[in-house]
């Protein structure tokens, strides 16, 4: 049958606009995704950010270098140790301070424990987004053990403020290393336990394999770092390529994926947890005696200059770019390069053309924290 006149569909086809978030249980904070839906299919998805903006970068300009550190805690609030470490590493680069080996190793221990804690939060929320609620309680059980260790060390559980420019603020409490070693020894069996719930689960595989695919080229073009980049098969880890503290002295592998999808990123992160326990074990063995602070003046005065330093946070490359004035006691400008912010821009590419349910899988797999995106 041939149609006469202008070709018209039988019904008017209209796209539905849904503003997903910022008040939504699955957006990991106050992310808003403006979507155009054709039935359940996502035609267009646009992340809208800024609901958690606190002007942290501007605040940095008004306070002395050491006073900035507590503010870095609030960037990626499930991952304070790396935020502290990134800022300290960058400042040490600017001031030309090299920290004593014991301090470096302790920093690595704290950072890797924090990586485990952060990945456990990712594991829990990712699973809940896809409908499996029980892993949440399993991972938070071990996360609590890690937070207990942190609390014992610095008094705080989330906003740690546990590092200083030039070293560490406190020596370890008595018996802390034993308790840490006990935890590290037990942890791999817990990873196995989490994996029994999801890794071979057919529904889990169905929901994650082939979902949120991003090609290695696109991943590089968009500046992705961390597990989203490694899930696309690119071996890139700041700890390996630009080692800071003493990461060049420990052995670990950088896991990568092959299929560039959500399932591979899941496997990459799970393997990273195993590698973290490996690093922790080596650090605990090698931990030298000695001072925990480098010789640094009481009042830090910067030389004139610009410096960029970065660390591998659980989410990707966390960088600080600091502009300092001659004899200044505070940053002239401090720009944070948050991994979540950069990783989030791949969201439209990953979800457009797929179903609403895949959006949850992709938000989960990007592992974003809005505190660090909005700053």
């Amino acid at each position: 049958m041939t149609m006469k006149g202008p070709e018209r569909p039988l019904f008017d086809v209209e796209e539905m606009e849904v503003s997903f978030g910022p008040q939504h249980p699955a957006t990991h904070g106050v992310l808003r995704v403006q979507m155009k839906l054709d039935g359940e299919r996502i035609v267009e998805a646009k992340p809208i950010i800024g609901y958690l903006h606190r002007g942290t970068e501007k605040l940095f300009e008004t306070m002395t270098f050491p006073a900035c550190i507590p503010h870095t805690d609030r960037l990626d609030y499930v991952n304070a140790a790396h935020n502290n470490q990134g800022f300290c590493v960058t400042m040490e680069k600017l001031l030309g301070i090299s920290i004593p080996p014991r301090a470096a190793y302790l920093r690595m221990i704290l950072a890797e424990l924090q990586r485990l804690a952060s990945h456990l939060v990712w594991f829990a929320t990712h699973a809940v987004d896809i409908g499996a609620i029980t892993p949440f309680f399993y991972t938070f059980r071990e996360r609590d053990d890690i937070l207990d260790l942190f609390e014992e060390y610095c008094g705080a559980r989330l906003t740690l403020n546990c590092m200083k420019i030039g070293g560490l603020p406190f020596e370890l409490p008595e018996g802390w290393l034993d308790r840490c070693a006990e935890f590290v020894d037990a942890f791999p069996s817990h990873i196995d336990e989490y994996e029994t719930l999801l890794t071979t689960n057919r529904i889990w595989k169905k929901r994650t394999i082939g979902v949120g695919v991003i090609s290695p080229e696109d991943a590089i073009d968009m500046g992705l770092t961390g597990p989203p980049l490694r899930g696309s098969g690119i071996e890139w880890d700041i700890r390996k390529v630009f080692p800071y503290d003493r990461y060049d002295e420990v052995e670990f592998d950088v896991p990568t994926g092959t299929n560039c999808d959500t399932y591979d990123r899941y496997l990459v992160r799970v393997e990273e947890m195993r590698q973290s326990t490996r690093i922790l074990r080596q650090c605990l063995e090698k931990l030298p005696e000695g001072p925990i602070m480098a010789k640094a003046p009481k009042v830090l005065r910067s030389p004139e200059g610009m410096v960029y330093g970065s660390v591998e946070s659980p989410k990707g490359e966390l960088g600080y770019f600091i502009v300092a004035t001659e004899n200044g006691t505070e940053p002239y400008r401090c720009r944070v390069r948050p991994p979540s912010f950069v990783n989030l821009q791949s969201l439209p590419k990953m979800v457009e053309g797929s179903l609403v349910a895949d959006l949850m899988a992709v938000i989960g797999t990007l592992d974003i924290v809005l505190g660090e995106i909005d700053r």
């Binding site: 699955a26 359940e40 409908g131 499996a132 029980t134 399993y138 719930l197 529904i203 349910a357 959006l359």
Partner: protein, 350 residues
């Protein structure tokens, strides 16, 4: 005449009472059971072991304001939870739950432990009424004037079409084996042994049909892994996003009553109802009590299965459920009833 009415009335009150009572108990089981699975305690403050928690929750829901948002279709908005509850409650009246050989109550025959005694099309009745349940979800989704609710409603309608065909076809095998749509006869046809030693339960004769029916029952009750219509991490609360107070409670209760009915149907259709394998029940009131206990035990097991699965598995995606229903379960259900036909024709199953 009035005695007959009284007997039916007593049965009706007892069944509805028990059904409504299972809701708070199941809520408690669900919360304590999920706590057990998730390595935590669950509610344990109100009453012994937290048993009174669901009642307190119900009172809280009762005294909350019944909010009807602006812009909703008021009629549909109020009608939807009503349909949900009415459908859920009227399903169980066709389910026989204990053996009865001529027992009498005030010199009137009880006519079986079932509210509707002479319902010789029990299976048909249950499937017909149960299909109405989807209207409550679709109407709630449509009437709420909320995009998430609408998506939930659309999902529910697509889901219903996908699993219900397979579910119905899987029961065809049972109907063939029993030679009747009468649920009591379906149960009696499962007495005795098959091939000399196996209990003659439909699940053992036609395991494929049984598995398909159980899987479809999860979709029927809108629970994980098929809770797409309310998928809380995707659609906030799906079709009942806008509901509060007793309107919400109606949906909530209907979900749990559906669970009980589905568990009872699995028991009746595939697990021999109140039959104990290899043992024949005594007669009289003792047999009635014993069979009631056996039936309840089986139902409790399947109720626990529902809870267990919900707190273990992730959620299917909407298109994957449709693919599962149409491409896997439907052909397998056809295969199942072919097998029953062949078995009956060749005399393996008589």
């Amino acid at each position: 005449m009035w005695v007959d009415a009284a007997v039916i009335g007593i049965k009706l009150v007892a069944v509805v009472g028990v059904l409504l009572m299972t809701v708070p108990i199941m809520v408690w089981v669900e919360r304590r059971g999920s706590a057990l699975i998730q390595d935590r305690l669950g509610p344990n403050r109100v009453g012994p072991a937290g048993l009174l928690q669901p009642f307190v929750d119900a009172i809280k829901l009762l005294i909350k304001e019944n909010l009807i948002p602006a812009g909703v279709d008021k009629l549909l908005f109020v009608l939807a939870p009503t349909i949900a509850l009415v459908v859920a409650l009227s399903l169980f009246i066709a389910v026989p739950f204990a053996v009865d050989d001529g027992l009498e109550l005030v010199e009137t025959p009880i006519d079986g432990f079932i509210v509707a005694p002479d319902l010789n099309i029990g299976i048909l009745y249950i499937f017909a009424i149960a299909s109405l349940a989807v209207y409550s979800i679709v109407l709630a989704g449509w009437g709420s004037n909320n995009k998430y609710a609408l998506l939930g409603g659309i999902r529910a309608s697509a889901q219903t079409i996908s699993y219900r065909l397979a579910m119905t076809l899987s029961v065809v095998g049972v109907i063939m084996a029993a030679g009747s749509l009468h649920l009591t006869q379906v149960v009696t046809s499962q007495s005795g042994v098959w091939l000399g030693f196996l209990p003659r339960w439909n699940f053992l004769i036609q395991p494929l049909g049984g598995i398909i029916f159980i899987v479809a029952a999860f979709a029927e009750t809108n629970r994980l892994p098929f809770d797409l219509a309310e998928a809380d991490s995707e659609l906030v609360a799906g079709y009942h996003t806008e509901y509060s107070s007793m309107n919400f409670a109606a949906f909530f209760m209907s979900k749990y009553i559906h669970m009980v009915t589905s568990a009872a149907l699995i028991t009746v259709l595939f697990f021999g109802g109140w039959q104990i394998p290899w043992i024949s029940l005594p007669g009289g009131w003792m047999g009635a009590g014993l069979s009631l206990g056996v039936f309840s035990a089986k139902v409790v097991f399947f109720l626990w299965l529902f809870v267990w699965v919900r707190w273990t598995l992730p959620r299917f995606r909407f298109d994957q459920l449709m693919a599962l229903g149409w491409k896997i379960m439907l052909p397998l259900a056809v295969l199942n009833f072919l097998w029953v036909g062949v078995a009956m024709a060749s005399g393996i199953l008589t």
